[in-house]
């Protein structure tokens, strides 16, 4: 399967890929492709059959078909291989379309990215790889946000606060406010947490600066 995914920018006229022959629910959907009689209409029919099996909303099916014949087919192969759940599949379709639009490229070139083909080829269970795929696509879709988030998360870890203190970043970095939670069962524990926070205050200033985009994201 992995090789077929990696090479699937070419029309696939050969036998059904090994993964598809293992009795997963995408096999029937791929029949026309497997028979070597694929054309645009066959691909669309295959995708529609698969979508019905997965109860994929019509809106997602339409978005899927708009990825272009090749991109849509690659995504079908990927979905079958990773056994994407319906919600995951809908999210992947939307993310791939948005990444392609943002970058002025095609779904095919998004799906051919190394980060994605390595997941398709990679080891691990299908659900694990599906989860990885979504993470990678979200990073590609929100690159600056994810860079900023990763940097802030490391800065928070570097504070080395006691376990009783949790620093929360704003959800999706949608605001400039950190949340700080202190868990204390005694005055001594509270004092210790507050002292640790005070000692870290200078480094908090750097976190706030990063949160405000003061440095290169």
């Amino acid at each position: 399967m992995p090789k077929q995914v990696a090479d699937s920018t070419h029309e696939m006229a050969g036998p059904v890929p090994a993964t598809f022959q293992q009795g997963d629910c995408g096999r029937a959907a791929l029949a026309p492709v497997a028979d070597g009689c694929e054309n645009g209409a066959d691909h669309e029919a295959a995708i529609r059959r698969y979508a019905v099996q997965r109860r994929l909303p019509e809106r997602s099916v339409e978005a899927w078909l708009k990825l272009g014949a090749e991109g849509a087919r690659m995504l079908l192969e990927l979905s079958v291989a990773l056994k994407l759940r319906t919600g995951q599949l809908a999210a992947v379709i939307e993310l791939v379309a948005e990444i392609a639009l943002r970058e002025g490229t095609t779904a095919v070139s998004v799906l051919k990215r190394g980060e994605i083909t390595s997941i398709a080829k990679g080891v691990g269970s299908a659900p694990e790889r599906a989860s990885k795929l979504l993470n990678v696509l979200r990073i590609l879709r929100y690159p600056e946000l994810n860079r900023a988030l990763a940097k802030l998360q490391s800065a928070v870890e570097a504070l080395r606060l006691p376990r009783s203190v949790t620093v929360g970043l704003p959800k999706d970095l949608s605001s400039g406010q950190l949340s700080i939670e202190i868990r204390a069962g005694s005055l001594a524990e509270l004092d210790e947490a507050v002292r640790a926070l005070r000692e870290a205050s200078a480094r908090f200033s750097e976190i706030f600066d990063s949160l405000e985009g003061a440095d290169e994201l």
Binding site: K66, E98, L101, R102, G104, R141, Y142, P143, E144, L145, A148, P170, K171, D172, L173, S174, S175, G176, S210, L211, E212, G213, A214, L217
Partner: protein, 363 residues
């Protein structure tokens, strides 16, 4: 700019109004005219794929049933406010910007409504002056419509300028994305009319601002009205945080300052793209190929999608620094952001609406 109209509807009650007669005469029998009992019905969406666009081609002349004058929406939403007052003389716009909030706001009545009883608006303005004896007010007609898009056929600017030039404490702001300034050039506003343009970099204009005048044409029009005695202002709103945004908005500002000296500009407002979830869904459905609608926006605490906080703050600060360097002394302010965000972005708390409003009305 000629905006095409498929049909003109005139409410029976305003059949003999000056505005209705003017429109019938100026549209010159090219557009079929229907007379209707209730203009609101004619403004309802048609059962077509894109009822919003269909509405943009149906002009409805009618009475306005509610007040003409209201505070800007920012005033009651916990946002920093510039004291702007909105005068609703029309609703919807013939241009088709992918990010426009009207897509959601007038979805249930997308017909291009123009209100024939606008003499009542002048009465409301005179009442405002009587009850506020010392303040200056900036009154804009560009909130639910483009102030000048149909001026060639409505001639509304003539009546407006005539009214405002008689009232020292009122400043009219005509906000537009067109270069429809011919009527303005024939009048002397006595310094009491400000014409403002929304400006975007060429990339945003090409991608998102369909049917509008090009950025350079807007700036050229601003230069001409400035020479004719009008004050001019600019709105960098919405600012869209796309990958090249920082550079291209700076270049846009440079293009503006090349054409007009900072001292010739009354103010510059800056506001980031914000979209309710409903608007975002509509915009993406209507403009599936516009990359400007798939930026790194996230759901913000105020329930609107905005560029994530680090990107937004960085862009605001960068533009503020550029404005400060190139046009020191030029009044600029952030629009539709909370006072806390304004303070963080500009390094100083926003003035009260009354103070900023007075400053902008007299700038």
């Amino acid at each position: 700019m000629n905006f095409e109209i498929d049909a003109l509807f005139i409410e029976d009650a305003v059949r003999s109004s000056e505005l209705a007669q003017r429109l019938v005469a100026r549209l010159n029998s090219k557009v079929p005219v229907s007379y209707v009992m209730d203009g609101r019905q004619a403004a309802r969406p048609l059962p077509v794929d894109d009822a919003f666009v269909a509405g943009k081609r149906r002009l409805v002349v009618m009475n306005r049933r509610s007040r003409f004058l209201s505070p800007c929406p920012a005033a009651g939403a916990g946002l920093a406010c510039c004291g702007y007052l909105v005068l609703v003389l029309a609703s919807n716009c013939p241009m088709n910007c992918s990010y426009c909030f009207l897509q959601e706001y007038v979805a249930d009545n997308p017909g291009l409504q123009i209100y024939a009883n606008y003499a009542q608006a002048f009465e409301e303005l005179e009442r405002l002056l009587r009850t506020n004896s010392a303040r200056h007010f900036r009154i804009g007609t560009g909130e639910l419509a483009d102030s000048l898009a149909f001026d060639r056929v409505t001639g509304l600017s003539v009546d407006l300028v005539e009214f405002f030039r008689r009232h020292e404490r009122l400043t009219l702001e005509l906000k537009t994305k067109t270069d429809e300034i011919d009527n303005l050039l024939r009048m002397d506003p006595l310094g009491r009319v400000l014409v403002s343009w929304t400006l975007s970099p060429s990339r945003v204009y090409r991608s998102s601002e369909h049917g509008t005048a090009a950025p350079q044409a807007r700036i050229d029009a601003a230069c001409r009205v400035r020479e004719a005695g009008y004050r001019v202002g600019f709105h960098l709103d919405p600012i869209i945080a796309y990958p090249q945004a920082e550079t291209e908005y700076r270049e846009l500002l440079s293009m503006l300052f090349d054409a007009l000296a900072p001292g010739e500009i009354s103010f510059l407002s800056v506001g980031g793209l914000r979209m309710t979830p409903g608007l975002r869904a509509i915009a993406r459905r209507r403009f599936p190929n516009d990359p400007m609608l798939v930026g790194e926006e996230v759901l913000s605490p105020d329930g609107r999608y905005r560029a994530c906080y680090p990107m937004r703050l960085r862009l605001y600060r960068s533009l503020a620094a550029h404005i400060q360097a190139k046009a020191p002394g030029l009044t600029h302010y952030l629009c539709m952001e909370t006072p806390a965000v304004v303070a963080r972005a500009l390094g100083t708390a926003p003035p009260s609406p009354a103070v900023l409003g007075e400053r902008l009305a007299t700038a």
